[in-house]
């Protein structure tokens, strides 16, 4: 191998002269530039607030609704969320709601009747034994919270598409809405309602759904974020009028999934 020549750094003289001359002409500008990028200069920026402006809020909400539309386009009804093994289940599975665990609503199952309304052929109410008699399905999937944490759980119930078929729902309608015993409310798009992994669940980990996880029933959608999965469902309705949701009306994205 040849010995490496010492690398002499060469300079484009003209560029250098032009720059040096310019800098020397304007020392104050140079100093100003330097001072802007100081900690003090940057700290002043923290006083700026864009979030409070009403028009900004309106704009961001509009973009979020636009994102709902795009997510609707991207949604593939045949694409399945990942499933997991029994050993991967998160134990204990975390409790999460907009209230504390001691405020979980207690629903009496013996005289419980699920209401069905809106664009359906049959608005008869459903008792729990009637619901339990529907075709069975089970899944071990990951519940992903909008906050960023996630937990794997095992839910059992009936395919929601089967329930919608039973009540003669107009599946060309846009939304399915839910009203819950804890004053939570939520709504989803029809394609997700008909997705094969969307289950109306009555059990958790092989046991009757405990109150903290949403007794008497929870809609489980592994394709959507946690807040989209309503618990303690008392009424289900089909509609073309955008029903919003508890968190959605405060700013969370409505589609909230993939």
């Amino acid at each position: 191998m040849k010995p490496v020549k010492p690398n002499r750094v060469s300079v484009d003289r003209e560029s250098l002269i032009i720059d040096v001359r310019r800098e020397l002409d304007m020392p104050s500008r140079r100093l100003f530039g330097k001072r802007i990028v100081t900690l003090g200069g940057l700290a002043m920026l923290t006083g700026c607030s864009l979030s409070d402006d009403k028009s900004v809020e309106t704009f961001l909400t509009r973009v979020s609704r636009l994102n709902d539309t795009v997510q609707g386009w991207l949604f593939d009804p045949n694409r399945l969320a990942p499933t997991y093994t029994e050993a991967q289940i998160t134990r204990p599975f975390p409790f999460n709601a907009f209230y504390g665990i001691d405020e979980v609503p207690i629903v009496d199952g013996s005289d419980f009747r699920l209401k069905v309304s809106g664009l359906v052929q049959n608005t008869k109410t459903w008792s729990l034994p009637e619901l339990y008699a529907l075709p069975k399905a089970e899944q071990i999937t990951r519940h992903i919270c909008v906050e960023g944490w996630s937990a794997i759980g095992r839910w059992g119930g009936t395919p929601f598409s089967e329930f919608l078929k039973q009540v003669g729902a107009d599946t060309s309608a846009k939304y399915v809405g839910f009203r819950c015993a804890d004053d939570y409310y939520e709504s989803i798009d029809m394609p997700t309602a008909l997705h094969s992994q969307t289950l109306l669940t009555f059990t958790f980990d092989g046991q009757q759904l405990p109150p903290k996880y949403g007794y008497p029933m929870k809609l489980r959608m592994p394709t959507k974020l946690g807040y989209k999965n309503p618990k303690h469902i008392m009424e289900i309705f089909v509609t073309n009028k955008f029903p919003g949701g508890y968190w959605v009306d405060q700013g969370y994205n409505w589609f909230g999934g993939s």
């Binding site: 750094v9 300079v11 484009d12 003209e14 560029s15 720059d19 001359r21 990028v37």
Partner: protein
């Protein structure tokens, strides 16, 4: 692949504009580092004197052979690259500030939270709205950047190994949602760590370039007006 391509593109653009390579090794009239230091020490008079010694013709030749980089009136980067760069910077900063708020809702690293005073969005829901609005700025700006690169032939000149077809293929896959987090990054939780690490690299990138700009403020002017 797109992520890598964009990283390369942005690195390339920024370093081209503000690195000392604009001065170095492009001229037939070479100066050693010692000469350079000497020039700096001599002050403006000496420079002018040296400058006068060079004939106008020699200067012109030197300028042309340097790929016209040294001509102060010549635009180093076209306007669309500059516009695209600054929109990119805006989108990256908005996504970073709002992303910090999102991070704080459930910190990846226990005990490490970002002071809410320097975050954007006010709360998780607001931060998510900012994040996914700035995403579109980044997205459409990226499309604009790639399209202009292809149309002007800049892509071929500068990023030869990347073919437009490969980029469009990946873009299509991403749009169809086939490049899911789980597939790409080995699990949801790990994807969060990757996401955070990428943000940290980007933040470090910005800090380093702010320092560079504060050392050579003229480069900022060049990046805005092109010369």
């Amino acid at each position: 692949m797109i992520a890598f391509a964009l990283t390369k593109i942005s690195f390339d653009d920024v370093t081209r504009q503000i690195s000392p390579t604009n001065y170095l090794a492009t001229n037939n009239e070479k100066l050693s580092l010692e000469d350079f230091m000497q020039t700096m020490n001599d002050g403006p008079k000496e420079i002018v004197a040296k400058d006068k010694r060079t004939s106008l013709e020699a200067q012109m030749n030197a300028t042309h052979e340097a790929g016209s980089v040294s001509n102060p009136m010549r635009t180093i980067q076209p306007a669309w690259v500059r516009i695209s760069h600054w929109l990119n910077a805006l989108a990256a900063i908005l996504m970073m500030l709002s992303g910090w708020r999102i991070y704080d809702a459930s910190p990846v690293f226990k005990g490490f939270v970002i002071p809410t005073g320097i975050t954007l969005g006010g709360w998780l829901g607001g931060a998510l709205q900012w994040h996914f609005a700035a995403m579109w700025l980044l997205f459409f700006n990226g499309i604009f950047y790639l399209a202009m690169n292809v149309v002007t032939g800049r892509l071929k000149r500068k990023f030869f190994p990347l073919s437009p077809r490969a980029i469009l293929h990946d873009l299509g896959e991403a749009l169809k949602g086939h490049l899911s987090h789980a597939e790409l990054m080995g699990g949801y939780d790990f994807a969060r760590v990757v996401h955070f690490s990428a943000m940290s690299l980007l933040a470090a990138f910005i800090v380093v370039h702010l320092v560079m700009v504060s050392l050579v403020p003229r480069s900022l002017l060049t990046m805005i007006r092109g010369r």
